[in-house]
């Protein structure tokens, strides 16, 4: 888990890594953005430049193109947040030079990575200096595997396998006739 530095070199490196869709992403994973607001954030949160009409290209060539602008405005009503996100989008050049977004079928044919700019609320635990904490559970977008074979396959747990139980029961034929104490 690495944090992107808001310096020229940090931003430049992030842009380079982010725009390279031909290999695995190995740039910084977390971007910190302090925002002067106390309004809550809805999930999913479209990460786009709200002031830029080019944001239409956020979506692939189906109906989302027409709906995403309205949807984005509905999800983020706070102007300060929208401005901050727009700046993040613009500074980090997440528009990919306004290239047409390839859908899954097109991208897989040429071995490119597809990107989804809808950010979903994830699970986190904010710990404060006064020994309080605020735990947030994600929306179900990500999460642990179910306990069972899938987790075992991924090397995340050991399969609960034991020899079958052999139940031996004995019947005391005289017990029924004995008077209870």
């Amino acid at each position: 888990m690495s944090v992107m530095k808001w310096s020229d070199s940090g931003v430049e490196e992030y842009i380079e890594k982010c725009n390279n869709v031909n290999t695995n992403f190995d740039g910084a994973s977390i971007i910190c953005v302090p925002i002067l607001t106390e309004e809550c954030f809805k999930s999913p949160m479209p990460l786009c430049n709200y002031q830029d009409k080019g944001t239409k290209l956020l979506a692939t060539s189906d109906l989302h193109i027409h709906d995403i602008q309205n949807y984005a405005s509905k999800q983020i009503s706070c102007n300060i947040t929208r401005e901050a996100l727009a700046q993040v989008h613009k500074t980090l050049q997440m528009h990919n030079d306004y290239q047409i977004v390839k859908d899954a079928c097109e991208a897989v044919g040429v071995g490119e990575t597809t990107q989804c700019r809808l950010l979903y609320k994830g699970t986190s635990n904010f710990k404060f200096k006064d020994a309080t904490n605020k735990q947030t559970f994600g929306c179900g977008h990500h999460g642990h595997d179910y306990v069972g074979v899938a987790a075992v396959r991924n090397g995340k747990s050991l399969m609960a396998a034991t020899a079958p139980h052999i139940n031996i029961s004995t019947v005391d034929s005289g017990a029924a006739s004995k008077p209870k104490a």
Partner: protein, 429 residues
């Protein structure tokens, strides 16, 4: 066969006899499920011409009340015309002169013929893969015509619900299959008969606890362990495993139904008096702590103070304008402004696996068109080699997209990509 090779000087040029043998090996001996079950071979006498087909759609509607002497609602029909061309392709082999004089040379020649047959079949298999994933999406057509309102909300909800579905739900594959069957049935398509998916996705079907509980099944368990839990059919669908192809030079063969995808998450909370944030980290498969000092140093250059913040040209304006206030908020000083900390994680990378469910065959889905094959013999006396060139027209085409449903994607194997978290994705498009 032997005669013609001993007399290659007089057999140069196209050779129909050898062509027929190679054609037969390709169409009959390879038994590839892609060109038999899904898009079977269909021979064309004249593959040079344009292939055209029409698709008529007759939507069934509900009759509505009609007053006397008024017009009834007209049912709508659609006709779509498509066309395509087959593509000329070819491969060649060369042998040293006099190769037929030794048994090793004859064996080598036999293997080279098999190599040609295998290579051509491999090419045709890839074409079937590409035809399936690039076929027009009937789901998209339905969506555009009928589900115009509130579709986005529903799509996003589906995206969340099916994300990591196969890893999070033991019965995910069953649900996906039954869901697809009803979907195709709703489109007026016929009952699907094949499921094409990656090998890894078959683990989900074959490595369930019931099928790998060797100890509890007595003699059957021993047999199961020896033979392995195979899966040819599942819920009435023939399982066809997708293949990996060498598409990019210098990299490992790639499965078309496996792709990289980056998805995003965000985390939010108060910044005032913050000590640390715990987030899930894929590398350690655990929740890792992100200290407030690390967050602070991502906002300013190392060694600089709050008043000596980085310039607005090199960072977010909203940060640089308020850097001192952010520091006060972090330290919890009296009267500080209330900042929220938004942590964006836009590049969580996964590998996603797709699956294709449909009804294969010429009558329902499409075909692998081929024809005008030619095996031509040549002799290069200058270099002392003899060879054969096999050329043919071929193109896999999906004529009726109602018969197929492409789920992109179903499952992702855990991969550690640097700092990226989590593992599995399942999204239906």
């Amino acid at each position: 066969m032997r005669w013609c090779f001993f007399n290659w000087n007089v057999q140069q040029g196209p050779n129909q006899w050898i062509t027929d043998r190679v054609d037969g090996l390709i169409t009959d001996a390879t038994n590839s499920p892609f060109t038999t079950v899904i898009l079977p071979y269909m021979y064309m006498d004249y593959p040079d011409r344009k292939v055209e087909w029409n698709v008529w759609t007759f939507d069934q509607g509900l009759a509505s009340r009609v007053p006397y002497e008024s017009a009834a609602r007209t049912l709508t029909q659609r006709k779509q015309s498509f066309s395509g061309y087959t593509v000329r392709q070819g491969l060649a082999i060369t042998m040293e002169h006099n190769f037929m004089m030794t048994s090793q040379g004859m064996e080598n020649f036999q293997n080279q013929i098999k190599q040609v047959v295998g290579s051509i079949q491999n090419t045709n298999d890839l074409d079937v893969h590409m035809a399936l994933i690039t076929a027009p999406s009937y789901m998209k057509q339905v969506r555009e015509r009928y589900y115009l309102e509130d579709y986005l909300q529903k799509a996003l909800r589906d995206y969340i619900d099916t994300f990591g579905f196969v890893q999070k739900n033991m019965n995910a594959m069953d649900i996906l299959i039954e869901d697809t069957k009803s979907l195709i049935s709703g489109w007026g398509g016929t009952e699907p008969d094949f499921l094409m998916c990656s090998n890894k996705l078959c683990f989900q079907l074959t490595m369930t606890q019931e099928r790998t509980a060797y100890l509890t099944q007595g003699a059957d368990g021993k047999k199961l362990l020896r033979d392995g839990p195979t899966m040819d059919m599942y819920r009435g669908l023939k399982i066809v495993k997708s293949k990996a192809f060498s598409l990019d030079e210098g990299s490992a063969p790639r499965d078309i139904l496996r792709r990289r995808v980056r998805v995003g998450e965000y985390y939010t909370g108060n910044l005032s008096n913050l000590q640390s944030v715990e987030l899930y980290d894929e590398d350690s498969d655990n929740f890792e702590s992100l200290s407030v000092s690390k967050i602070w140093h991502s906002l300013v250059e190392s060694g600089s103070s709050a008043t000596d913040a980085i310039t607005s040209s090199s960072c977010l304006r909203c940060i640089s304008d308020n850097i001192a206030a952010i520091k006060n908020c972090m330290d919890g000083e009296d009267g500080h402004q209330k900042f929220s900390l938004l942590l964006l994680r836009p590049n969580i990378e996964h590998y996603m696996l797709g699956l294709v469910i449909g009804k294969g065959g010429m009558d329902h889905l499409g075909a692998t068109l081929w024809g005008q094959t030619e095996m031509s013999v040549f002799d290069d006396g200058q270099h002392g080699v003899w060879g054969m060139t096999y050329k043919y027209h071929e193109r896999a085409m999906v004529f009726n997209e109602v018969g197929v449903c492409v789920y992109v994607c179903a499952y992702v194997l855990c991969i550690c990509v640097c700092m990226c978290v989590h593992m599995c994705v399942c999204v239906m498009i």
